[in-house]
């Protein structure tokens, strides 16, 4: 299954990845190769097989509802490019 340019552009937009016009054909071909593997999987009959949510055949362990974390704000804020008054700063985004 080939992937057309438009689909690649849309995927790039959704994933917030910049793909230059020079590389778009190459990306499209490589994605197509991945999808060929998917085509092989699609060809296998899965009738009667329940969809798998996780490769491990295990059940999730839950934790008790307790506060175990302490305030490490100052450490975390230092990792951010910009912060002020205890807030992480980002370019303005408004709906």
């Amino acid at each position: 299954m080939a992937v057309d340019t438009q689909t690649v552009e849309k995927l790039a937009e959704l994933a917030r990845i910049a793909i230059s016009t020079e590389t778009i054909d190459e990306v499209s071909n490589r994605l197509g190769e991945v999808l060929q593997l998917v085509d092989q999987l699609q060809a296998v009959s899965t009738e009667g097989v329940a969809p798998m949510a996780h490769p491990l055949d295990e059940e999730q362990v839950l934790r008790a509802d307790e506060v175990t974390e302490s305030d490490r704000r100052e450490e975390f804020l230092q990792l951010a490019p910009q912060s002020e008054e205890g807030l992480y700063l980002v370019p303005k985004v408004i709906d």
């Binding site: 949510a53 996780h54 999730q60 910009q82 807030l87 700063l89 303005k92 985004v93």
Partner: protein, 487 residues
């Protein structure tokens, strides 16, 4: 043309767990920004989520209260989108295998009718953080501030079928959800603090048409009143467009309460492709039959059952019973008053009348009432034993509301005790008759049929003389005897 409005609601309820859905960070409201956002909430590399057992317990309790199927196996998925208040780039939520499956609840409308609304499903998910756009910074750099304290707080999203046909039905449904989650104690349900948020899917169609019209989604309507207004104004907008021959665009719209209008949120349209897939960091959660049955046994008495019991045990009307059971605290208050004074009907009347008016005026919840249940019961006891009349009781109630103490203290201090002393009342009757020669003549000359009505003047004068404290039954009896003796 007659139009029908079709409404489905998505209600987000914040669960009142101590810690977050996938981390041990505190969920306490009102903390300084980012002091309750840990490495997991911030999506630091190498961290792994571990689900909170209490969030599952809350969700299952909710499902049981909604007569719904319980997803004994549920799976978390990733809903992918980019927004600054979502550090991971996806929200961990449930889609194909949610914790609560189809169910139904009965809603009660103001005209006394009831209706069943079907639940599509309810799922567990994490909340996002908050973006602060307003001028929170002194330096005018024009950037947005992000507070991630709320990120990872557990929510249940409750999705109804499109079963509601008016804004009033939508409000009744929302109130029912509110009362169920607060009865269960799984959320404080406070809409003003965002503990309960509502999105409404609204469409219109010609009456009799089976096919649903194109819907719009109204985002984040944060009070019962706004839900009603937003739905009404959006339905009107759609009807206007259709009647002018236009068509509805499926989109997300925001309700502007100040302008009472809805407007398009264009930015949300582009990225409406969430590419859900099962979260590889989390295994399926499997709950045993025993666990679910144990929770079923722990369910408290729910609003409908409580209303039925109040009708039965206290002989309340359906209307009063519904009104008094909307909130658990109100129902508890009522039962305390009714048991302490033995006058259920009077207790209900005072609560839906004077007390409701007082709380409304002061914008207080029943828990903050300045008049306690014990105080109200004390007041009703004094009406019951004729110490005071109902009219004087209102004065005493106001005094109790102002913190002047319990009913007996107020009655004593203000000297409001009803006068039931025959001698004293006879004296007042004599005085009024003596001072009202003209009215007495009229009374004497009137038809017998008209006389009872004419007594009103005398009763009024005597009441005035006694400052409202004379026992009305005794005045009537003594006055009639004295007037008739003059015939």
């Amino acid at each position: 043309m007659e139009w029908e409005i079709v409404i489905g609601l998505e209600v987000h309820v914040q669960l009142s767990t101590k810690s977050k859905l996938f981390s041990g960070a505190s969920t306490q409201f009102g903390a300084a920004p980012n002091t309750q956002a840990c490495a997991i909430d911030l999506a630091m590399p190498g961290t792994l989520p571990v689900p909170n057992a209490e969030a599952f317990r809350s969700a299952v309790m909710f499902g049981l209260a909604m007569n719904a199927e319980i997803g004994k196996r549920s799976v978390f998925e990733r809903k992918n989108y980019f927004y600054p208040d979502l550090p991971k780039g996806y929200q961990t939520t449930q889609l194909a295998e949610p914790i609560v499956g189809p169910g139904e609840i009965e809603i009660h409308l103001e005209d006394g009718s009831s209706k069943t609304v079907r639940l599509h499903h309810a799922h567990l998910e994490e909340d996002a953080g908050k973006s602060l756009h307003e001028a929170v910074f002194e330096s005018g750099h024009g950037m947005s501030g992000i507070d991630l304290n709320r990120a990872g707080t557990p929510l249940i999203e409750i999705v109804s079928e499109p079963d509601m046909r008016s804004a009033a039905e939508a409000v009744a449904y929302l109130k029912k959800i509110h009362s169920i989650v607060t009865y269960l104690g799984i959320s404080d349900g406070d809409m003003s603090q965002g503990s309960m948020r509502c999105d409404a899917n609204v469409s219109v169609r010609l009456k009799g048409e089976e096919k649903l019209g194109t819907r719009t989604e109204l985002k984040n309507i944060n009070s019962f009143r706004f839900v009603e207004r937003a739905i009404k104004v959006e339905a009107e907008r759609q009807i206007d467009i259709l009647e002018d021959g236009g068509s509805i665009v499926q989109e997300t719209r925001l309700y502007d309460a100040d302008k009472n209008e809805t407007r398009s949120m264009r930015s949300k349209e582009v990225a409406n492709d969430y590419r859900y897939f099962p979260c590889p960091d989390l295994l399926p959660v499997v709950l045993s039959d025993d666990y679910v049955e144990q929770l079923r046994n722990e369910l408290p008495e729910l609003p409908d059952a409580k209303a039925a019991r109040l009708r039965d045990e206290y002989k309340l009307s359906a209307y009063d019973a519904d009104l008094l059971t909307q909130e658990r605290a109100t129902a508890d208050y009522f039962e305390t008053v009714a048991k302490a004074c033995g006058e259920a009907k009077l207790a209900a009347n005072w609560m839906t009348g004077e007390l409701a008016a007082l709380l409304n005026r002061e914008e207080l919840s029943i828990g903050q009432s300045p008049v306690s249940a014990e105080q109200l019961a004390g007041l009703i006891l004094r009406i019951k034993d004729n110490t005071i009349s109902s009219k004087i009781a209102k004065q005493v109630f106001e005094a109790m509301a102002n913190g002047e103490g319990d009913a007996d203290t107020v009655i004593e201090k203000r000297g409001l005790k009803q006068v039931s002393d025959t001698g004293a009342i006879e004296q007042m009757v004599d005085d009024v008759i003596a001072a009202s020669a003209a009215q007495v003549d009229n009374y004497r000359n009137a038809d017998e049929a008209k006389r009872p009505k004419m007594m009103g003047y005398f009763v009024g004068q005597i009441m005035k003389a006694s400052k409202g404290q004379a026992n009305p039954q005794m005045i009537n009896k003594i006055l009639k005897e004295k007037l008739d003796a003059l015939l």
